[in-house]
Symmetry: C2
Subunit: 266 residues, 2 copies
């Protein structure tokens, strides 16, 4: 399966421009899965409460219709991050759509820093779906920091974790190698680059979108400040074989009875 | 608290020489905690069943007496890896001793590759003890690959994970940065370097002993092929404050009800 990861620099609130730039970048892509960044069509830096209701849309809103039309054109599945409006508030969500429509939906569980001022944390949990023989699960950006996120997706059977992101901390690209190794999965991180600044807040995004293999290899990567697309061919069989040495099986070697699952003090 | 990490190249079966070399390296050290490698006095490469009973010793054997005398001389705690003989078989163990004697004992849970031919996997689990105001827990080498190991120690309250190792895979030094960040703890990895070869098996150890901080910094590191000691001053308060951004608390942000704790297929 060919996996494409898209990186660009969305401009806050300029939905039409962000959608047009994405459309240019994915034009004619030869891939079965395309990963777009977190909040790809709105930009990231919400700073006032009134902005989110104006820019968020329901799961079945116009962005999904448009991305589904792209999925039909490319004959591919596309995962994208978006601000989701619901009667329970707004979520930092991602949707995975194929040519026939919605395949999977995720609401970010581990919100980063000031996202908590605007978004509700996801309560739906993780899920894995199969598309053209590859089992995929979604996590979003800061979920990387919590080993339980990638672990949950792997335990649900994911061969490939698709990871729309807007990274500001420098550690994630290396941490995704650890996540790939500890779970023996592929991880495709689509990040953005550029600076967003308004209302006295400035954030610099780190780019460095990448695809890593279950063997801890960085199969392809983009720079810190460039628009671009990388396409990598992955073999899901490599992710399904959890035998990582002659005598080590990543699941069989676990000793759950000996693990401590809850902080003693908190 | 000053933490020292020792790196050298033990020779298989040459217990006296390995102990003498360690003694030279730690002579006069100004540190409250000293971390020695896994299997530091026997070497690593067991290749025949009869070797282990000959080289293993009980927890309260002569090595512990000797290391305890070093701990008294240095007025420090010392953690070291050793082959432990018990009526239930041999374990790849580590002990932490202070000037007054034994403080903590760990039997490696996640055995690496051919270790399974000679050692039993540990069944005692993880533990954390306090020494001079710093809470410490032990994990050994390949435990790094399983996020539950460092997570368990952090959840038990560890400020500092001491990590005797004999690393052959290249990823561990970077993975320990992820482990430090995801748990907000210090990690002191004492590795060995050099090659062991016998009975048609050859292993090259990667050195690169290090201390990493809860903020993901590599505070000090040794080379791929050198004897040496690094000493780093750590502040346990940094590990206890799990508030990693203004709005993110590493424990408070967890959503255990949404995590999947067991592989669906295995």
């Amino acid at each position: 399966m060919r996996v494409a990861v898209v990186q660009f620099s969305p401009r806050f609130g300029e939905v039409d421009a962000n959608l047009r730039r994405t459309e240019e970048l994915i034009q004619g892509l030869d891939a079965e899965v395309v990963v777009l960044p977190e909040l790809f069509q709105t930009g990231y830096l919400f700073t006032r409460r009134e902005e989110l209701p104006r820019l968020a849309e329901p799961l079945d809103g116009p962005t999904r219709d448009l991305v589904t039309s792209w999925a039909r054109d490319l004959d591919a599945a596309i995962v994208y991050g978006f601000a989701e409006a619901t009667p329970q508030g707004c979520f930092n969500s991602a949707a995975l759509v194929g040519p026939e429509g919605l395949l999977s939906h995720y609401r970010k569980i581990h919100l980063f820093d000031r996202e908590k001022l605007w978004f509700e944390p996801g309560t739906m949990g993780f899920s894995v779906i199969e598309f053209r023989g590859v089992r995929m699960g979604i996590m979003v950006c800061f979920d990387w920091r919590f080993p339980e996120a990638a672990r949950s997706l792997a335990f649900l059977g994911a061969d490939l974790i698709v990871h729309p992101s807007n990274l500001v901390l420098p550690w994630c690209p290396d941490a995704m190698i650890t996540r790939a190794l500890e779970n023996n999965v592929f991880i495709a991180t689509s990040d953005r680059w550029g600076v967003e600044a308004k209302d006295g807040v400035e954030l610099r995004f780190i780019g460095r979108s990448q695809v890593v293999s279950p063997r801890g290899e960085r199969l392809a990567t983009l720079g810190e400040a460039e628009d671009g697309v990388i396409v990598v061919d992955i073999d899901p069989a490599l992710a399904r074989d959890k035998q990582v040495t002659e005598h080590n099986h990543l699941y069989g070697d676990r000793s759950p009875a000996l693990y401590v699952g809850t902080p003693l003090e908190h």
